[in-house]
């Protein structure tokens, strides 16, 4: 099939915007899910040093759809099978947005809002690609809330130690600015009509997309009928954030919602289990704590994961070992 490309947009954006279900993961040059082939010379790379581009066979025309723009009419060949009948519920598109209300909520985490020029529908768990001023290319940021006809969704950004842009943002703050965004994106989404009990294993800023899932669930009293088991891990106690929001989730259905906190680096004083801000606190990585607490608990649950790669791999191993099929485990791999 043939689609047109707007000036400056990537091949992935052009395809998704026009309803072509191209394979992708992060949309930002990290995960390499969108590897495809194009005749050499017909596309130009936006970011040749992208982590996901390290193993490209460029002599065979391999490129990342999310990091390539056309330089002339081109054909692309996508590996694997694509079902063209599968279209996203909300087609992504380009928007201008005003970034505002940048707030540091933990030593390495801040929240911000984007006021979009139009109203956008998205599914809980999805993300937007955001091109912040001074940053090369787009980065994925998950919405932390759920709104219909959204105009000002909220996001989380993680501090990248040594990252020039990130350090500047966290030390000097973010001035109100206009940014380019593309979305909504992401396949790790929540559909309440599936009517499943949920297990959420999340680390650090990886909790962002899960907060959107929980926001929608609480709004429709989902946890009055279904259970939630959530473990939220960070490195040290000072790194926790969103605890007030998690209390709201727990208080929406205390009998069905179980939330535990985990710290991986800091030694806990006293017993191996204590309380922090009203939640049970444990020592260990998220998947280790979940394994201790959730033995036999995950069967028939739908899992949402978010966090750094090692945490995702550990959690995935735990859930697969518990017998969950891969179709019941959802996550985006940004890292």
């Amino acid at each position: 099939m043939t689609v047109g490309c707007k000036e400056g947009e990537t091949l992935l954006q052009a395809g998704l915007r026009q309803g072509v279900p191209l394979p992708y993961g992060c949309g930002a040059g990290i995960c390499s899910t969108c590897v495809a082939r194009a005749r050499p010379g017909t596309v130009e790379e936006c970011w040749s040093e992208a982590p996901g581009a390290q193993n490209l066979k460029r002599d065979k025309g391999e490129c990342l759809l999310c990091q390539s723009r056309i330089s002339q009419d081109c054909e692309i060949l996508v590996p694997g099978k694509i079902d063209l009948a599968v279209t996203s519920e909300h087609k992504p598109d380009h928007y201008c947005a005003r970034l505002h209300d940048f707030n540091i909520v933990a030593p390495e985490v801040a929240t911000f809002q984007l006021s979009l020029e139009g109203k956008v529908d998205y599914l809980a768990g999805q993300y937007f690609l955001v091109k912040l001023e001074g940053m090369q290319g787009y980065r994925p940021y998950s919405m932390t809330d759920f709104q219909r006809k959204a105009q000002s969704p909220s996001f989380v950004i993680k501090r990248i130690p040594g990252g020039k842009f990130s350090e500047q943002l966290f030390t000097a703050g973010a001035p109100d600015s206009v940014v380019e965004v593309f979305g909504p994106m992401g396949l790790a989404t929540f559909d309440p009509s599936e009517a499943r009990d949920l297990v959420c294993l999340v680390g650090g800023s990886g909790i962002a997309g899960i907060m959107s899932v929980l926001d929608q669930a609480v709004a429709i009293d989902y946890f009055e009928r279904h259970r939630l088991f959530l473990v939220f891990g960070v490195r040290r106690q000072d790194d926790f954030f969103f605890l007030d929001e998690l209390k709201r989730v727990r208080d929406s259905a205390p009998d069905n919602v179980t939330i535990h906190l985990a710290i991986s680096e800091e030694e806990m004083v006293g017993s191996s289990e204590s309380q922090f801000d009203g939640f049970p606190l444990h020592q260990g990585f998220v998947h280790e704590v979940a394994e201790q607490l959730g033995e036999g608990l995950f069967e028939n649950h739908l899992a949402f994961l978010g966090g750094p790669p090692a945490m995702l791999t550990g959690s995935l191993a735990l859930l697969l070992g518990a017998g969950l099929p891969v179709s019941d485990i959802r996550y985006d791999r940004f890292g």
Binding site: G25, C31, S32, T33, V35, R37, R39, P40, N55, K60, G61, E75, L77, P79, G80, K81, L312, T313, L316, A317, L320, G321, G323, P325, V326, S327, I329, R333
Partner: protein, 125 residues
């Protein structure tokens, strides 16, 4: 077993080197392989995911007789190599057996996955 066939078998590791559900990378001469233990059986496979050549000693997870690549959740039955769920290609196996507590493999040539599309001549540059 003929002498020539016998001679083509090589020791990869001790059977005790790889625990049940574990996946370890070894060298057989110049060829890298992964050894997987499923219960009391072993399989020896190429070290890359058949999907996008992800190094499986980093991304592979063995649980309940299945191998899952955590990158895109392709999955295989470890005893048969048959693809499961979203996976579109089977796993390749080197011929292997356990003898006197050692995992032996017969490597006549390096097994690789064909990542190029076979039927699109327009893209043969």
């Amino acid at each position: 077993m003929s002498d020539s066939l016998e001679n083509s078998w090589q020791v990869v590791c001790a059977a005790t080197d790889v625990d049940d559900g574990e996946l370890k990378r070894f060298q057989v001469g110049e060829i890298a392989v992964l050894v997987v233990c499923v219960g009391e059986q072993f399989r020896v496979i190429p070290p890359f995911c058949p999907h996008m050549a992800e190094p499986l000693h980093e991304s592979g997870i063995c649980r309940a007789g299945m191998l899952t690549c955590s990158k895109h959740l392709w999955q295989w039955d470890l005893l048969t190599g048959k693809e499961q769920g979203p996976a579109e290609r089977p796993l390749l196996f080197y011929e292997s057996e356990v003898r006197d507590g050692e995992v032996l493999v017969r490597v006549e040539e390096e097994l690789t996955y064909e990542f190029d599309e076979e039927d699109d001549d327009d893209f043969e540059w």
